[in-house]
């Protein structure tokens, strides 16, 4: 297991290195950073001063070497918008996003897995139809629209919770639900079909023949096998929330996390901050993937080193 984690970490390191190279190329070569980051009214002298300040006047290879060197010291430069170290800004916003993803996906799995499993007990029964209907609705609703709708009804209309911002549990409710709904719908659908599939397996029939009560057959036997593919999906949900959905949800609710900050960084043409965010997101994705691989090995004894 130790060597397995070590090898995955090395692979992950290469992935992160690749991502940073892409980021470097994208920011230096596709556009002119000086043009992007300075206001349109800046003079040529100001541009030259800016380029000199950030070393943008040097040859590309020299820039890349110092870029990677800074990276090794986790120095992403100074955020132009916030006027402090970019990484500091990122680390400050990070917990808020983790909190949102944690609560949102906890909600999605805690609701989605049991509902999906119960729906699978009687495929095409009344309960199943309700669950499938809910899932399809959840899958079809655009997330930003769902967020706005929830604000209109529960924050503006009923006044139960604040419209935006963070700080209390009440602030958390609407963003977490908004983030959870599409994930919950996908998890429900997969759990349902996965449990239906497992309940038709021979080992389920032999467990019944050994006199195991249905509850035990469902939870001890079928569910454990059914959750192997579900774990893949949950991992994917974590990654897509981390690298995408939170940007939408945090922007709708002005949730002061990484996604909202990424939007602001873009609006402020703050390339250094954006680089730091992309780096942290890439590291996060790699870590989640390693975590998933470890979990798979723990759950399914058939998975050998791969």
């Amino acid at each position: 297991m130790g060597t397995f984690i070590l090898r995955r970490s090395l692979q992950g390191f290469l992935v992160v290195l690749g991502v940073t190279i892409v980021v470097f190329v994208a920011t230096r070569m596709i556009g002119d950073p000086a043009q992007v980051m300075l206001p349109l009214s800046a003079t040529d002298a100001q541009r030259a001063a800016f380029e000199q300040q950030f070393g943008l006047d040097r040859p590309l290879d020299a820039q890349f070497i110092s870029f990677v060197g800074d990276l090794m010291r986790f120095d992403f430069g100074e955020s132009l918008w916030q006027r402090r170290a970019a990484l500091e800004v990122v680390l400050e916003k990070l917990p808020k996003t983790l909190e949102l993803i944690g609560v949102g996906l906890l909600l999605a799995t805690v609701v989605g897995i049991p509902l999906g499993a119960l729906a699978a007990v009687r495929p095409d029964g009344l309960f199943d139809r309700v669950v499938v209907g809910l899932s399809l609705t959840g899958l079809s609703v655009p997330q930003f629209w769902l967020g706005l709708l929830l604000i209109m009804v529960f924050a503006v209309g009923l006044g139960w919770v604040p419209t935006f911002g963070s700080g209390s549990l009440a602030h958390m409710i609407l963003p977490a639900i908004t983030l959870a709904v599409p994930s919950m719908a996908r998890i429900m659908m997969l759990v349902r079909s996965s449990v239906i599939n497992e309940l038709n397996q021979q080992y389920v029939r032999t467990a019944k023949a050994r006199g195991m009560p249905f509850g035990r057959v469902l939870f001890q036997h079928a569910m454990r096998n059914a959750l192997v593919p579900v774990l893949t999906l949950v991992g994917w949900e974590v990654i897509s929330a981390w690298a995408g959905y939170t940007v939408v949800v945090e922007t709708v609710f002005a949730w002061p996390g990484l996604g909202f900050t990424a939007m602001k960084a873009i609006n402020h043409s703050d390339l250094f901050l954006l680089q730091a965010i992309v780096f942290v997101v890439a590291v996060g994705i790699v870590l989640v993937n390693i975590g998933l691989d470890v979990l798979f090995k723990l759950i399914d004894p058939r998975i050998k080193e791969a």
């Binding site: 080992y203 019944k208 036997h221």
Partner: protein, 341 residues
């Protein structure tokens, strides 16, 4: 019926099972009756689709949608298992007094549970043992079914076992709670021939030492002759002939049984080619009104358009045929030659 004999441990009476499929109502069982005495071994023989496994599932209470038991009765020591109280009784018997070994050992164990967890689960449920007691008993059971290093094997997962070893585990699970009746549904079909013999020997030994009754489902007549006292031959969802193994093999009454025996290779008979029974069993979606074997029977007559009743044979068995004991396939070789244009 005269009850001079002891009560059978299991009695199946005129059982009808139907499956409501997309293409229509399939009549899986069409009036199956048989009984098993304590300590007896009964073979249910027949080709694929004749209803052997459906019979086993019905007895185990494993017929689920789209299938259902339409009529007939299943009695355990004279008490019905199909009434509401009977179903409760059945639930308490299942896995304990009444257990089953399935056809495919490769898929019959939960891939995410250790062998030990399977054994402990069933022992704790039915024998009310504590975890350490159940574990110790599990080790003994593995040893009893001929698995070496049982203690180490308890911690292993199904994928670390070969097919034959898995079937031994399935047998250990089936006998764990000292059953009175064991249903073995083609227990050796998925195994190599050498392993088959070992597993059958194991079953025979267990039967002797535990005094259990066995219903052995198979299409292999060779297995039947070696292991079973009584034989019931199934065709198209019903039993066409039943009797002691010796009489059924020596003086088969039903043309289908005779055909089956003819089509089994024998060491003492050096025929050039094996004779098969021409044709295929009828569809159980629209079974024929009369005798189901009619279309393949060399001695069928107009009589066979009505279903033959079950009748006793002189040797003490029973047969459902209008013209039993006719040597139906006497000149079958000629017939096939004529048919092969």
């Amino acid at each position: 019926m005269a009850y001079a004999q002891p009560t059978p441990i299991l009695e199946v009476r005129d059982l009808h099972v139907e499956f409501d499929t997309m293409s229509g109502l399939v009549q899986g069982l069409r009036g199956v009756s048989f009984s098993v005495m304590p300590g007896e071994t009964l073979a249910l023989v027949g080709e694929s689709g004749s209803g052997k496994s459906v019979t086993a599932q019905a007895v185990m209470g494993l017929i689920g949608l789209p299938g259902s038991i339409v009529s007939g009765d299943i009695l355990w020591k004279g008490q019905s298992l199909l009434t509401p109280e009977g179903q409760k009784k059945a639930a308490s018997l299942r896995g304990k007094s009444l257990s089953m070994v399935f056809q495919d050992p490769m898929t019959s164990l939960n891939p995410l549970m250790t062998i030990g967890a399977h054994l402990v689960e069933v022992l704790r449920r039915h024998m009310k043992l504590s975890k350490p007691q159940a574990f110790a008993r599990g080790v003994e059971l593995l040893e009893a079914v001929g698995i070496t290093e049982p203690r180490r094997r308890m911690a292993q997962y199904p994928h670390e076992f070969s097919g034959g070893m898995r079937q031994r585990v399935m047998i250990a699970l089936a006998i764990a709670c000292e059953p009175e009746l064991l249903i073995a549904d083609e227990p050796t079909t998925a195994l190599d021939v050498t392993i088959q013999a070992q597993v059958l020997d194991l079953l025979a030994d267990l039967q002797k030492s535990m005094g259990l009754s066995i219903v052995l489902i198979t299409h292999d007549l060779g297995i039947v002759a070696g292991l079973c006292e009584r034989v019931a031959v199934m065709y198209a969802g019903s039993i066409v002939e039943a009797g002691s193994a010796a009489t059924v093999f020596e003086q088969a009454e039903h043309p289908y049984t005779q055909g089956l025996i003819r089509s089994t290779p024998r060491l003492d008979d050096r025929r050039d080619r094996l004779v098969s029974i021409e044709g295929a069993p009828p569809s159980l979606l629209h079974p024929p009104k009369g005798c189901a074997f009619q279309s393949r029977c060399p001695v069928a007559s107009r009589q066979c358009d009505t279903k033959p009743a079950r009748q006793e044979t002189p040797a003490g068995g029973s047969v459902s045929c209008w013209t039993p004991s006719l040597p139906a396939w006497a000149d079958v070789a000629k017939t096939t030659e004529v048919h092969a244009r």
